[in-house]
Structures are given as structure tokens and as C-alpha cells.
Amino acid sequence: MARASIVGAGMTHFGVHGGVTLPELFADAALDAVDDSGVSLEELDAVYFGNTTGSVSENDSHLSSKVASQLGIAGIPCQRFEDACATSATACKHAVQAIESGRHDVVLVGGAERCTPASGLETPEMTKIFSSASHRQYEQPTGLTFPGLFALLTKRHMHEYGTTEEQLAEVAVKNHYHGSLNPRAHFGKETTVEEVLDSPVIADPFRLMDCCPFSDGASAVIVVSEDAAESYDAEPVDIAGVGHSSGRIPVAEQAALSATAAARRAATEAYEQSAVTPDDVDVVEVHDCFTGAEVLATEAIGLFEDGAGAEAAADGRTRIGGDVPVNPSGGLKAKGHPIGATGTAQLVELTEQLRGDAGRRQVEDATTGVAHNLGGEAATTVVSVVEART
């Protein structure tokens, strides 16, 4: 039995949206999801909204009621979530719980973020704001950045398992290829291993082309009860399991940095709830903020043995057409990463994949999907299992 169902999914193009405000940007995705579902705005019982940086980057807080007001909505509970890059996945988890408990029947859940220079802040300022997710006292004073943080995890993986920079580059090449098939992707161009390895070093082993971009964008889904799902226009996709766990901060105190323990706990929980095993999974969206992060994620959610994730990517096993396509959307790497929008954007992609509506990037016969969305130093991770109605 599903915990809840998605009946509508929508997102903006991820890229540069300097000309609209954060509420306007979110409304574009939200109305897309509402129209997809056939739910009317009057039927919404709650709005769960994710945004990570707006309080600091745009001096814009209390955003949940602002985005609802932009949609003409007031008089219902509206709540803002912030869990670093896992922001809208945690928002969705709470929507699922509210539906499951019977508290709400129809919830709009999503996120929006403006991170590009067109939205006001140049890259050095935004890099500093992103680094706020690392420990204020014990990590920020070292000069750690988020590429640096994931480089620390990935260097450890390379040391333990022999993962190479060329294998990491193959992850970028694959995700750029997928992104070239996705009209909403920030980057629509393919790349090569040579281009990746020739790009400037950001935090070794990561070069510019190993890193996701700063993007503007929004995404949203409409979550309802499994039983109610059939009464709306759109083909529902069931949320069979949602696992959510945390890890230690500062990251130095985590047991094994290449293991991303929170993701393992979240995946175990999500698989148990849904009675799905990694072998059953047809399509996956993981949090590839950096190429190395995708490798760690595919191992943590059980798609590959520990240490085998990079080779699997280099062998094409995670490409569309491979054994288990990972990030057919292009992932954060090519689709883009508007922080608070990323978690629900993964669910938008999986909804389209499981409906068979993903166009040129369709994974054939996909009926079971998994989303892996992490925040901060992999110290928040939400893993969701979604299934097509058969």
C-alpha cells in the first residue's frame, strides 16, 4: 500500500531567471503541477514550500505564505522548510505524513531558489552562502567550500577503492548527455572526458565540469491520498516509501566519510516501507552535486557494491539504456541545482518517467523509481521510492 500519491508534477526550466521574483518563479512550477493534476487551487489543504538561501541572499524570509499569496491562496497552513540541499525532499516527506495521517487531503509541495548572478549575487558571495551549511565554528573557518567538502569524501573513496578522475569525468559526460535530452536542463550540451579533465580545478579531484551549476528554478508536486488519486485527471504515481536520516556534523566525526551513512539509513527505511529492493529499481535520480557525490550515492542506496559505483558509471551501466539509468534528467550536474527546488524536481522527473511521458530521455518500461536527495555534508538524506500504477 502506498503512503501517498503524486497526481501532479511541474517545474520551470532550470537556468537563469533574473526577471522574476522568487514567488513568481515558484508559482510557475506550482500552477504547472496544479494544471497537470486537475486539482483546483481551492482544493489545496496546505502548502509545504522549500527554500534554502533566500533569507540571506535576498533578505526574503517567511516565504511560505508569500508564495501561497502569489497563487491567490490564504487561509490554509503554509510552511517553509530548510534542510540545505535536501529542503524540498523533507517538505515532501512531511506532506506524505500529513496525507497518511488523514490531516490533509491535498498538499502542494515544492521549492524554489535563485542562485545565479542574474538574481543578485555573484559567485563568490553565493559560494560563501552555500558554505553556511557547513559547521559555523568547526568547519567554516578552514575555508571549506561545498566542492571542497564533497572532494574530501571523494578523495577518501579514491584512496579506499581506486576510483579515478577519468571515471568521475564519465559521470559528468553521462549526465550532460542526459541533460541534452531534457528541454528543461540548465546545460543542454554534451561534453567529453577530455573536456572535463581540461577544465579548471575547483577542489581536487573536482574540476569545473565535475560540479553542478548555480541555477534558478522551481518545482512542485501535488500529493494526495492513494485512494483519492484516481479521482483526479492525471495518471497517479504512488509514493511507496520515504526514508529520512541524519549524520554527524562536523563531518570529520562521521564514521566513514565515503559511506554517507545517513543515505544508507534512509535507503534502508524507504526500501523496507515499500517492500522494494535495489534490484527492483528501474530508474533513479540521485543528488549529484558533484560527480563523486553520484558515485557515493549509487553505492549508498545499494545499486552497486561499495567501491564499484565509479566503474559502473564508466561502463555505461547508469546511462539511459544501461542496467539502471541514473539521473536521466541530467541530474544536478546538467539539469541544474536550484537548491530548494532540487528534491521535488527529482520527483517531477520520476513522475514523468513512470508515466512514460519523458520523451527522448524515457527509460523503457520503468515502473519503480528511487530519488536520493541529500543536504549539507550528506548529514541529511531523504530517499523516496515511487511506483507506477499497474
Binding site: 559560494t127 560563501k128 565554528q137 567554516q140 575555508g143 571542497g148 575547483i202 562536523p250 566519510l257
Partner: protein, 125 residues
């Protein structure tokens, strides 16, 4: 609890002041013996409140490291090297100098300050 009690507690302020003097302080659990490199309010292994400040070794082994080409605003221009150093049974993040790699021995050599907060600098031992 009165405000004066804070002077007896092992807090970030105590930790930072000790670091500035060249001493690395950690928290040891009196009940289970586990050690962390930063002060906690309860043991992260057994949740005991019976914790005591302990001096950590100032020499350790690089657990992982990276050279950051683009540091955040407010830091010097890159590249800078940041690493996680194993100090006995716990680990601490710090700045590295001298190009140490994973497995290399390093020693606390200096302290840098950012926005009033110190960070340990480790050099090759």
C-alpha cells in the same frame, strides 16, 4: 543555573581559546570513553552527560584532504588545502600546509582566524 556556571563549562569558547594557545581540546565521555574533537552537550555514542575536556594529540595522520582552488569570499585567493586529520580516535578538520597527502603524518603548526573564529593549521611532521 547562573550565568557564572558557563565559566566552568567546556564550550566552543574554551575550545577556541585553547586552540589559539596551541592546545587541541576534545570531549571524552566518562561513561563509555568515546572521544570527540569538538565539545558536545551529550555523548554522541551513549548520550551520557558525564563528559570531560581532554587534551588531544597535536600530531596525527591525514584522513582525507583537498586543495580548494576557489575559496569562499573573505578568504585569501586559492589554492588552499583543507583536510581531516585523525588525532587518536577522533578527527578534526583543519587547514593543511606542505602538501600532505592521505596517510601522511602532520603536526599542529599554526592557527588562522576567520571572522573571529580560529582554525587549526597542520604542517607535515
Amino acid at each position: 543555573m547562573t550565568a557564572d556556571d558557563d565559566t566552568e563549562r567546556f564550550t566552543y569558547e574554551t575550545w577556541a581559546d585553547a586552540l589559539r594557545e596551541g592546545t587541541l581540546l576534545g570531549h571524552a565521555c566518562i561513561d563509555c570513553g568515546s572521544v570527540t574533537a569538538t565539545p558536545k552537550s551529550a555523548c554522541q555514542e551513549c548520550h551520557s552527560r558525564q563528559l570531560e575536556a581532554v587534551e588531544l594529540p597535536t600530531e596525527g595522520t591525514v584522513y582525507t584532504e583537498t586543495t580548494i582552488g576557489v575559496p569562499p569570499k573573505g578568504f585569501e585567493d586559492g589554492p588552499i588545502q583543507v583536510g581531516v586529520v585523525a588525532l587518536g580516535e577522533t578527527r578534526l578538520m583543519g587547514r593543511l600546509t606542505g602538501g600532505a597527502a592521505i596517510g601522511d603524518r602532520v603536526v599542529l603548526a599554526d592557527v588562522i582566524e576567520h571572522e573571529g573564529m580560529p582554525a587549526a593549521v597542520f604542517d607535515t611532521a
